[in-house]
Amino acid sequence: MLQDLAGGIVIGLGYALIALGLSLIFGVLRIVNFAHGEFYMLGGLFLYSMCQLGLPYFAALAAAVIITVALAAIVDQLVLRPLRKSDEVTVALATLGLSIFLSSGALVIWGPVPHRVPDPFDGDVVEFFSTVFLTKFDLFSSFATFIVFAGAYVVIRFTSAGRQMRAMVQDSDAAALVGLNINRIYIVTFATGCGLAALAGGLLGTMFLIYPAMGLLAVMKAFVVVVIGGMGSIPGAIIGGLLLGIAESLGGAVLPSGYKDIIGFIMIIAVLIARPQGLFGGKRIRIR
């Protein structure tokens, strides 16, 4: 029971990390990024390739995130920039096309076989209260997630970039009117959001396996988290991630095996019926 709970928290923090980027991109840019899972997948695959090239684990992880960020910036300029004034459905279709392109392109390049990245701590296990066992990597991953969340909070709250993003959230036209460089905010936000997904892909990919189809399930989990927590809310992403991770971990121990993946989607529908803006979402969302 306690072991399930601890496992759920570790996974839940991973979900929160994927969802943070998705939530950031939606909150600031109003883009539903269906290709988010693909940047998560690319983070994992770049990490694998960098490790294959002989880079030490942490350098490889950093390189994977940086490459993904650069790729996301290019994607933003090529694909999303021409659609800045388009309606939500058109933009969603574009990210959907991007998602198919990236996931199937990765399948051609890396092949369908799942890869394993060596755990930098050699699978060392830490014991708590002699009942809960977590690997050192689980702890590292959770710690890294906390640092990222704290960093995101500080950046958004106290820096100029954060103030610009918040101005965009309030009114993007007014932000442009007072002279903010809207295009730069778009690139930075989109690339950062995708970079966070890549980091999550590296961390979770090391815990499990890395393969080109891993993005679809990840983006679905991220949607669950974001809907539960509230689109565009940072505390929402972390609470939503933890709730989903714990619910799946505990539910998986109780429910028949085939039904584990249904939990999140039932949660989505329940939340949307009871509190459509999500647990931490603002009231501005349009729902009848």
Binding site: F26, V32, V79, P82, L83, S86, D87, E88, V89, T90, A92, L93, A94, L96, G97, L98, S99, I100, F101, L102, S103, S104, G105, L107, V108, L216, M220, F223, V224, V227, M231, P256, G258, Y259, D261, I262, F265, I266, I268, I269, L272, I273, P276, I285, R286, I287, R288
Partner: protein, 327 residues
């Protein structure tokens, strides 16, 4: 009236073609024709929701799956023929649409997309795990293998031809429904809602009362396609009928052909089925090219082929008018 004669001629030609095509084409190409028709029907269904109401659904494969399962289960349990099962599948898919609508239609934009996406995943998980009803991941096989199971009596006509004619009838009927809806009060109200929901509501158009029929009709049409699919492939498995790829195919067909047009979804479905097959690109590069095609389409021609053809036609007639000096 010119257009009406043209459409009638096209329908008659398509009916005649159905009897000769199986002998003209090899069986693989004919299979592509049948699948294009199934996808046309699905795209016509999705178009009512996406093109007329402007809401993106990523869960329409659910209604296709419901139709396929209803007909497969009823066909194996009570040996009912397909022509009886098609309306039944449509009704059940419509009911499923109503149930989904009760939740999903409370939402707009991204939220509608996510709810429908969840519905699709939930449906697939239930179909995989409810083994007593659906036979689990193995699926239900042996549907429509007996030639008399299609129409309820034996005919000398090959089942492939029967399948083609049934699909043709359904495509014509649903296109006519689409055309009629587009010109009806409903069609005008949907356009008003799409243009500006608050303004439309202010002049007395009730969004929920209009969205529900759109979703239910849209779902029913997908259910019809599911019933024919079950008989044609003779196997219904959760990973096939509830596959995410189905809704992607529908979506590309609608966007390619033109959202909100009558002929667009059919055109889009045929192009999207045939062109990749005959592009003869390396098998493995096909899917990346699909993705890229959708991307380019959205960037360069978001209105689709039909609108594009219309623009060329207008351009040509404008040029002709200019040269002859007519107004």
């Amino acid at each position: 009236m010119m257009a009406r004669a043209l459409v009638s001629a096209a329908i008659v030609a398509a009916v005649m073609l159905g009897f000769v095509l199986p002998s003209l084409l090899d069986s693989y190409a004919f299979r592509l024709v049948i699948f294009s028709m199934i996808y046309s029907l699905l795209a016509i269904g999705l178009n009512i929701n996406l093109g007329f109401r402007g809401e993106l659904s990523l869960g329409h494969q659910t209604f296709f799956g419901v139709g396929a399962y209803v007909s497969a289960i009823a066909a194996t349990a009570w040996t009912l023929p397909l022509i009886v099962l098609i309306p039944l599948a449509g009704v059940f898919a419509g009911i499923a649409g109503f149930a989904v609508g009760l939740i999903a239609l409370r939402m707009r934009g991204p939220y509608f997309v996510i709810v429908t996406l969840s519905v699709g995943v939930i449906a697939q998980i239930i179909a995989t795990n409810w083994v007593e009803l659906t036979n689990g991941p193995m699926g239900i096989s042996g549907v429509g293998t007996a030639p008399e199971s299609w129409l309820g009596f034996a005919t000398p006509i090959h089942t492939e031809v029967i399948c083609y004619q049934i699909l043709l009838f359904l495509i014509v009927a649903t296109s006519w429904v689409t055309h009629a809806l587009k010109r009806s009060h409903y069609g005008r109200a949907w356009r008003a809602l799409q243009d500006h929901e608050d303004l439309a509501a202010a002049i007395g158009i009730r969004p929920f009362a209009l969205d529900m029929p759109a979703l239910m009709i849209s779902a029913s049409i997908c259910g019809l396609a599911g019933a024919v699919y079950a008989f044609y492939t003779s196997i219904v498995a959760p990973d096939d009928v509830f596959s995410f790829n189905i809704v992607i195919t529908m979506l590309v067909a609608v966007v390619l052909g033109g959202r909100g047009t009558v002929a667009g979804p059919i055109l889009g479905a045929f192009i999207f089925t045939f062109v990749p097959e005959y592009l003869r690109v390396a098998q493995e590069w096909r899917l990346p090219i699909f993705g890229l095609a959708l991307l380019l389409l959205v960037l360069l021609a978001p209105e689709g082929i039909v609108a594009w053809l219309g623009r060329i036609k207008r351009l040509l007639s404008a040029k002709r008018n200019a040269t002859t000096g007519a107004v």
